[in-house]
C-alpha cells in the first residue's frame, strides 16, 4: 500500500496489518529507536514549519541575523504585497498550467504503455528498462542542459522538423513554447509511474479475466469492467503525489531558463520565484509567505482530489 493509502486507512479508522496479540507497550525501547527521527521531525520539520509561519508575518531580511535583531512584525503586509504582485500571480499561473498539463499527460502515457506491456509480453523487461531510464536521469542538471540544446534553435528537434521542410523557431527562447519544453521533459520521465502501474496490473487476479472470458466478455469489456476499476486506486495515488511533486519543480525550470525564469517570465515557476525573492533579493518574509501559500494551494488540490475520488475511485473494502 502506498503512503497515501496508509493515511487514508488511518483516517477511515481501519487498522493496517493484522492485529498483534495485546502486549504491554515498549515505550522505552520504542522512543530510543525513534530518537533520531523525533529529533529530526522537531528540529527540521515541525519547528521550522511554525517558524516560517511566524516569519511570513515579519519583515525578515536574509542579511540581518534574526537572533541579534529580531525581524519586525508586520502583520499581513507580505501577503498583501504578494497578492498585489503581478509577478507572483504570473509564477502561480505558470506553475498551475504546468501541473494541470504535464501531470495528466505523463500519467496517461504511463498508463497506456503499462497496459500495452502487461502480461507475458516478450521483451517486457527490455522495454521497461529503456522507458525507465529517463525518469532516473531526468532530475539531473545534465539532462536539463541537454534539453536546452535539444529544443534550441539549432537543436535536434528542429533538425528533425527540417526533414519535413519545417523551419521552426528556437523553442527554449520563445515565450509561448519554453514552458512546453519543460512539460515534454516531464512527460519523457513517464517511466516511474509506468512501473507502478505495471505492478498494480500484476496484482489483478488472472481468475477475474478467466471468469469474464467464460461469460463472454470481450477485450474492451474486460478492460472496462475489471482492469480499469481495479486500477483506479493506483491511478488516484499517482495523481495526488505527482501533483504535489509537480508544484515543487525547480531544477528543470532553473537550468532551462539559465536561472532567469525567462523568456518573458514564461518559465518563472513558483519555486523559482520563491528562490529569487528569498535568496537573491533577501526578502525571506515574503518567501515564507509564498511557502505557506504554496502549502495551502497543495493542500486544497489534494483535498479536492480526495473529494473527487468518491466519484471515480473504486475501493474494494
Amino acid at each position: 500500500m502506498s503512503s497515501l493509502g496508509e493515511l487514508r486507512s488511518l483516517a477511515v479508522g481501519r487498522k493496517g496489518g493484522p492485529k498483534v496479540k495485546e502486549r504491554k507497550p515498549d515505550n522505552k525501547a520504542a522512543y530510543l529507536f525513534l530518537a533520531p527521527w523525533l529529533l529530526g521531525v522537531v528540529a527540521f520539520t515541525i519547528g521550522p514549519m511554525l517558524a516560517s509561519l511566524y516569519l511570513s508575518f515579519t519583515d525578515y531580511n536574509l542579511l540581518k541575523s534574526p537572533i541579534r535583531n529580531p525581524p519586525p512584525f508586520v502583520g499581513f503586509e507580505n501577503y498583501e504585497l504578494m497578492f498585489r504582485d503581478p509577478s507572483f500571480w504570473n509564477s502561480f499561473r505558470v506553475t498551475v498550467e504546468y501541473v494541470l498539463v504535464s501531470v495528466p499527460l505523463q500519467l496517461g502515457v504511463a498508463l497506456g504503455l503499462a497496459l500495452l506491456l502487461d502480461r507475458g509480453m516478450r521483451g517486457l523487461s527490455f522495454y521497461r528498462s529503456i522507458f525507465y531510464l529517463p525518469s532516473l536521469l531526468g532530475g539531473s542538471v545534465a539532462i536539463a542542459i541537454l534539453w536546452r540544446q535539444v529544443f534550441g534553435k539549432d537543436g535536434i528537434f528542429n533538425g528533425f522538423l527540417a526533414i519535413f521542410g519545417i523551419d521552426a523557431p528556437g523553442w527554449i527562447g520563445h515565450p509561448d513554447y519554453a514552458l512546453w519544453t519543460i512539460i515534454v521533459l516531464h512527460v519523457w520521465t513517464f517511466g516511474s509511474p509506468m512501473v507502478i502501474f505495471l505492478a498494480g496490473l500484476r496484482q489483478i487476479p488472472e481468475m477475474f479475466y478467466e471468469a469474464a472470458a467464460v461469460d463472454g466478455a470481450g477485450r474492451w469489456r474486460r478492460f472496462r469492467s475489471i482492469t480499469l476499476p481495479l486500477l483506479t486506486p493506483i491511478i488516484f495515488f499517482n495523481l495526488v503525489l505527482q501533483i504535489i511533486f509537480a508544484f515543487q519543480t525547480f531544477t528543470q525550470a532553473y537550468v532551462v531558463s539559465g536561472g532567469t525564469g525567462g523568456p518573458a517570465d514564461s518559465t518563472m515557476f513558483y519555486t523559482l520565484f520563491l528562490y529569487r525573492t528569498g535568496f537573491l533579493q533577501y526578502d525571506m518574509g515574503y518567501a515564507s509567505a509564498m511557502a505557506w501559500f504554496l502549502l495551502v494551494v497543495i493542500a486544497a488540490f489534494t483535498a479536492f482530489n480526495f473529494w473527487l475520488s468518491k466519484f471515480w475511485v473504486f475501493y474494494d473494502d
Binding site: R23, F44, I130, A142, I156, A199, V214, Y254
Partner: protein
Amino acid sequence: MTTETALPPLATRPPARSRASYRRRRILTSIGKHAGLTLLSLVMVYPLLWLVISSFKPNDLIFRDLSLFTTNLTIENYVNGWNDLQYPFWVFLLNSSILAFGAILGNLISCSLAAYAFARLKFTGRPILFAIMLMTIMLPFQVVLVPQFTIFKELGWLNTFLPLLVPKFLATDAFFVFLMVQFIRGLPKEIFEAARIDGAGHFRSFTQITLPLMVPALATTAIFTFIWTWSDFFGPLIYLRLPETFPAAVALKGFLDVQSSSDFGSMFAMSVVSLVPLFVVFLVGQRYLIKGIATTGIK
C-alpha cells in the same frame, strides 16, 4: 455473474476454418506492437545518444551535423572540459561522492531505526507519530526552507556539507522510513516471536534479525539516496557558494554561466561524466529500483 457459465464458450471460439487467419492476425498485431515500442524506445533514448556522441565531436560539428553517425570523433572535449572550470572536475565529483555516501550512511542508520520502532513496537502515541511521518513525505519542503536555512546559517554551517548531511542522520527522508516499515511488516512474525522467546531484546532483534533480513530494502534505500543526492541541485545551490565545495550538479551550471565562449563540447562532455555514475547505478541496481517503486508507489 450469470448461471450459464457451465455451457462451453462455443460462441467465443473461432470456427476451425478461420483459425489460421486468426493466428496470422495475432502475429501481425504483435509485430506492429513491437515495431511501435521499438520506435518509441528510440525516440526516448535518442537525446541521450545524441548527447554522448556529441560529446565526442569537435565543437564546430556538434550543431552542424545532428546525426548520430560520424567518423570524426575526438576526446578533446573531455580533456578541455575537465579543466574548464575553477577547479579540475574531479574535485566536483569527489564532493558529489562525499555528499552521496554520507547521505546513504545517514539514511540507512536513522531510517532503519525509526522503521523498526514503527513496524515492530507498540508504544504510546504510535498512530499519531506514524501519521505525522506519512504526512512529512508529502510536505512541500519550501515550507521549512527559510527557517532551516537560518538555523544552518546561524550555526556557521554555510559552505560546509553539514546542512546537507546532518538531516539525513535524523531520518528527514521519511519516504525511506515508510519503505522500510512496509518491508519489515512483510517479514514473517514467527521469526521475531522465536527470537523473543530465546531471550533476545529489541536491540539484538534489530541488529541480528531485522537488519540482515531487510537487506533488499536497505539496498533500495541506498540506491535511491544515491540518485537523489547525486542529482540534487537546490540544496547545494543555496548552502554551497564556494566553488571548491560544489558538487558536479552545481559545477555544471558554471558552463551555462560562461556560455559566451559557446564551448558546447566541454559542457556535453562533463554532462556525460556526471551522468555516468547514475547510469552505472541503474545497470547494477535496476532490480531494487523497480521493486522499490512498485512496493511504495512513489517516484
